[in-house]
Subunit: 391 residues, 3 copies
């Protein structure tokens, strides 16, 4: 697993686009707080998140960036983190990630985290923004709106949100709210206002199937690429309803409109690959899965994701949230796993080195540039003298 | 990945039965036409099917058969193809496939392709025929029939179709038309005639669930092996409804009647393996998946397909359609992947060489001979002097 | 695949807890009877279970324990088995399994098999008991009960059953009876008595969805760990309805009550891993899958099961039934596959040896001790002089 060879070197030097991530916390963390951010579950008595693949990977690959030996023990790790302070910790991991452009989902902020601008500054990179549609709708409801005006007010709010500088995409967490076994048709205005009347009367999270579906169609109208959470997530998801294959009817209806980017996908990466192979506008990544499985399985997950996927259809994302370790670890796992996969094929004479290098650049950077356009497609303004990445 | 060892040699020499494939086009192809035939999707601007696992595999493994260097560029590849002409191209790939018997689904002909006899002649092999039931029913409707007579007329047409010389099986694409979450019961005559009345009044593709189900039961009455498309296909399929596990109730009802052959299966090869392990009459292959994933993943897909499958239950098929490259590439991937799998177990002393060779012959040829009987079970009449296969 | 290295040695020496298995037959077996016990299907003409991964594994790994050469032919194998007699055969395999504690599901006895005490004696180990709830309910019905009294009588019978010495858990086969797409709510008493009235009037197997669900909630009230069959089994299961992800709503409702142990899981081991990662009380194993796939695939299945699973959440079970070969083979596959997985990561410097050894002890023994408590958590009383395991 020691990364060697021309593909490894090219991927180590490649300025990635992380097309879907979140901010890093802007506070020093206690042991328990850090543990809680390591897992999509929680930190339970006797079952430390350090004793999981992601915890093992953090001790192995993140510790050296804090000047600790590889495989440092958890206590020492969290102590050193506090000693350096969150700004320095974020700066080290974010710059070591070797990401030129971050696309940041700004709609999930259960605790104080970096803004896109702060993330960019710490990384020496560019940050763009992804607008989360459910959060936008909930903000519209919170400000007060009549049911009859909901469609127009939502539409105006969405158009205003995506006009903000640096916004490159919208995102939906329909997978969490209703799952994908949804009616694929565009809801009629009367359906939407009826559903809005019910929701606005009771308040709370947006989980009404008509309104969630309406958000997906709003995304189509906005014309920006649409990111969709699929598969793996926290306990709030129903995994089998987040299988992207369930979206097929809807994808037929929206074919030829906006690009649809299937995020995470695990364990349905093959289903996502099928969709990417047969629909022009469908793309996928295996973000979140990469750092949770760690480098030991990154290649295996990428092998499945790439089994039939056209090479212009896979993107890189970390889906990192909270700890900047994940922004770095995701990039490391992607580089490591993809290099193993591609180098293995080159060594077996199944692929030329030239093609391998193109696939590496496409998936790590150029596919995102092609889909999102500026500012993602512009060369990153990375300051000189950024320390060399450790991969 | 260089194929070496006794298992590789035995598989390279084995005359395969390709128990499910289609014809090859009988025309020279433009670049765009060739690209379109490489993918289950389409050829989209900026996303060439050459830039996908199957395209990489064609450049690597098909180019040498056209006297081009390995990994020849796409333009040169298609130009050389046109230079040789489609007859010579078909002849080269079909004979290099090393297939003794092709079972050809003749019910899918969106463009002019070889008949079974033409395919056989080009390959120096035998070709049998597989009758597609939905196409048969649509032909019955097109010829004009009263709803009340539909069951009898369909039955007579089916019996006539399967009496034709060389017909060895029937096939259903119920996976595409309704999916497998179907009522497992045999429909009553009144249900069938009612459904037929509705369908015949409107025309179009047969997608009525009663009539599609009626075709599956017609297959049971015909007594021939029934091939079922499952899993991976073009954008017309709903992948999650093509999971063969959904057929379990129906398989219980038809147990002890006809053999049921689950085609393709990917990504549900483990679900198909479960069915093959617990139902006497159920078999599977991973056709279509093999050439679409290419040799780099053929072993991995076969490993999953064979995890619990009895070795008399796996068959070889290419599911090649359109370009004869796929008839050759499917065979190459099968030989390559299975040889790696079996040789790996022999080398680890998990399997004897004798058993490995039996498994190779069974899955590549003898299981099909056992299920289909003559003429599949008769030695192929391959002309002497056929050029040695390159694998 | 030759097991070497420190992890292999540690796992070879580790006294396992087999937290879910059944008894071994107490009779000599004909060739056909032995074959039938090798498969979750049946023994069919021309498709011998010996010609499947599990049959290959038995000939390779079980034969030497009967003083036969590796890969002994099936006839010789079964003849030698009869020659030694079932007591000696059971003694050899059960002691060679290297299991200190067996948790025995006593609710599935289609033929005479060892009691937990007999199993323990033959193995030189400790045996605990797992009470199967559907069998308990059917026994209550068989003894005669008024529908109105069913809830109270069942509850009393369950409490009595789990008070028996050595009972450490309860088990449900709801996966077989209704599948997991169940109403997650606790059924009201009136619903239960209504359903009981219907069931008691007709008799037969318990398949009523209200009553099956009531048993799951009874398990919660009993307070003991609950084992759930999920995924792979015989032809009676509907695989897609045994996907543990379907339980998510129910798991939310019972969070914080009893541990829930997902058994087998294959091919849904990743779905089970997700649940184990996000619910404190959820655990998994890949029992049954291990010996059915054999050592050649044990690592691959464990790799998927451990992709994101916290290392305190995976347990070992054989799910062996009928032939003591499986009690041994399950343990061998677990040791073999896990050692390859862990040693591979140690060799790649992705894991320290210390951590690898902890993970081996946790998953093979200590996680079960932690969950079940005494007597599972007490050191096994293994007699001295037990022959060294062959792994």
């Amino acid at each position: 697993m020691t990364p060697t060879g021309a593909v490894h070197e090219a991927l180590a030097a490649l300025e990635l686009v992380d097309h879907h991530c979140h901010g890093a916390v802007t506070a020093d963390l206690t042991f328990h707080e850090f543990e809680s951010l390591l897992t999509e579950g929680e930190s339970w008595p006797g079952v430390s998140p350090f004793d999981s693949p992601v915890g093992i990977a953090v001790r192995r690959h993140s510790a050296p960036l804090l000047d600790l030996p590889r495989h440092a023990p958890p206590d020492a790790y969290v102590a050193r983190r506090a000693e350096l302070g969150w700004q320095e910790v974020n700066r080290r991991f974010l710059s070591a990630a070797g990401v030129g452009t971050f696309c940041v989902d700004t709609g999930y902020t259960p605790q104080p985290i970096t803004s896109p601008a702060q993330l960019a500054r710490a990384a020496g990179a560019v940050a763009c923004e992804v607008v989360r549609l459910e959060q936008l709708a909930e903000a519209v409801a919170a400000r007060g709106v009549e049911a009859g005006e909901y469609p127009a007010v939502l539409r105006a709010a969405a158009e205003e949100a995506v006009r903000r500088p640096g916004v490159v995409a919208v995102k939906s967490v329909a997978a969490y709210r209703t799952g994908f076994a949804l009616d694929p048709r565009r809801p009629a205005d009367a359906e939407v206002t009826d559903a809005a009347a019910r929701w606005l009367a009771t308040g709370g999270r947006l989980t009404d199937p008509v309104l969630v579906r309406h958000l997906l169609w709003t995304a189509v109208d906005l014309g920006l690429p649409l990111q969709l959470h699929t598969g793996f997530g926290d306990a709030d998801v129903r995994l089998h309803r987040a299988d992207p294959a369930l979206l097929t009817d809807w994808l037929h209806r929206v074919a030829g409109t906006v690009p649809v980017l299937l995020l995470h996908c695990w364990p349905y990466q093959r289903q996502a690959a099928y969709l990417a192979a047969v629909f022009e506008g469908v793309y996928l990544d295996v973000g979140l899965a990469l750092h949770h499985t760690g480098p030991a399985r990154a290649r295996a997950v990428l092998e499945e994701a790439l089994e039939i996927t056209p090479f212009r259809k896979l993107l890189y994302s970390s889906d990192a949230y909270g700890v900047a370790e994940f922004h770095h670890l995701g990039a490391l796992c992607f580089r490591h796993g993809l290099a193993e996969l591609l180098q293995g094929r080159v060594d077996a004479d199944e692929l030329t080195l030239t093609d391998a290098l193109r696939i590496a650049s496409w998936t790590g950077r150029d596919n995102a540039r092609r889909i999102y356009g500026p500012p993602v497609s512009e060369p990153a303004r990375v300051p000189r003298g950024r320390p060399t990445r450790k991969v």
